[in-house]
Symmetry: C2
Subunit: 243 residues, 2 copies
């Protein structure tokens, strides 16, 4: 059975302006790979409702899961909940369970559930909440869409809570070999190897370090025995060039 | 006149698997912002021809420029040139000007233009070349699509060569204020400020550092005087909370 598929939708002007380097995608990608869910596409869109809703509707139709990051804070530019509700055609408003979760959080830290904070309890109808033990405001799942915070520490906590509830597939096995030969010098051997192992993905990633041109070769696949077999051939091929 | 718009298309299984953290997008985003070209969308797709061609055709129809990164190396998994040619419906093959550029590069460094390397001289019909002073193999521009390497040092060199040839707009001015108050505490003041300056983008980015909850507030816009005016009000508002 093929692995479940996923897309990531990053919502944030700050990524598109270059002000912030996105790291949530890389974190999610590694977590999904470990669980056997294939991340197939990533998009970054601005904090604008039509852009978010259009991207979401395209992605949720094409993949088993869509994970979003960003735009669920307390300020005027946090419009993800509204955009998701618009994409699903459902109403959005402060929900009792979200309000209760936030009240409990602020009671614990000794803070107040102000009107601005209460804005973060606005949840589209039909969604279930994703806990936020870091800063209180919940994420949510609606249909196959999982809406999470953009702040990396909160995003990570939400991913950690959410992923165990999703069915995974066969985790991808991967082995990599670092060889001190340029990518173009070994291209033919790699193509031949790839042709012999059509069930595996064999990638090559050139690097230059301290004046040395080299290549990281990565063999990936769901069948560990096949990965090991291809890796053994690879190791023999480049026995003299390993770094 | 509105600024030119742009999208970035990152081609790479290694980004989607989590093995590699993409940094090319952030580099391009900053370079475009400085030149007054608005980056409006980013996509990451796997090394597969239909995924690349479909994303490319969608993006090039919607934005003034599309910049791609990755998949133009010498190995079997480098299929970007073919996918771009397919998207434009033009043939692709080794071109004399690309071969000459690569021959000149290898003559300089004392290397050979092997068959694998020559694969990197395959350029879609009608494209113009983008120089690569780092590793020889050229990128190319076809229509409004600029195809560049994935290796960050090469990508940066190509961006540096390409961008001065593109018409820019009004560079975005930006000023930011770091305040030691949580985002939800200042949400109402920020919303009021944003309502008074509808021509500006006022973003807020929460942080937690050494136990302190704070917010970076970023004011952005094309009119420097308006940015300064909003920033002055912001500074007055939070005079006691500046960090």
């Amino acid at each position: 059975m093929p692995n479940p598929t996923a897309a990531m939708l990053v919502i944030g002007d700050e990524i598109l302006s270059g002000r912030t380097q996105d790291t949530n995608t890389n974190h999610l990608a590694n977590a999904l790979t470990a669980q056997g869910i294939d991340l197939r596409e990533v998009r970054v869109v601005p904090d604008e409702q039509p852009a978010i809703a259009n991207a979401l509707n395209d992605l949720r139709a094409r993949f088993d899961h869509v994970f979003t990051s960003g735009g669920i804070g307390p300020t005027h530019d946090d419009i993800t909940a509204d955009a998701v509700a618009a994409a699903f055609g459902v109403p959005v408003g402060v929900r009792d369970d979200a309000r209760a979760a936030m009240q409990a959080f602020y009671d614990t830290i000794g803070g107040k559930l102000t009107p601005s904070r209460l804005r973060m309890a606005r949840i589209p109808q039909g969604a279930t909440l994703i806990d936020n033990e870091i800063s209180g405001a919940p994420g949510f799942t609606i249909g196959n869409v999982h809406v999470m915070a953009g702040v990396p520490s909160v995003f990570k906590a939400m991913v950690a809570g959410l992923l165990p509830t999703l069915a995974g597939g066969a985790p991808v096995q991967s082995r990599s070999l670092r060889v001190e030969r340029g990518e173009s010098e070994i291209a033919e051997e790699l193509a031949a190897l790839a042709a012999d192992f059509p069930d595996l993905s064999i990638g090559s990633y050139p690097f230059r370090q301290e004046g040395i041109f080299g290549t990281n070769i990565v063999v990936r696949g769901q069948d560990g025995a096949r990965v090991d077999k291809a890796f053994a051939r690879l190791s023999d091929l480049f026995a003299e060039n390993r770094a």
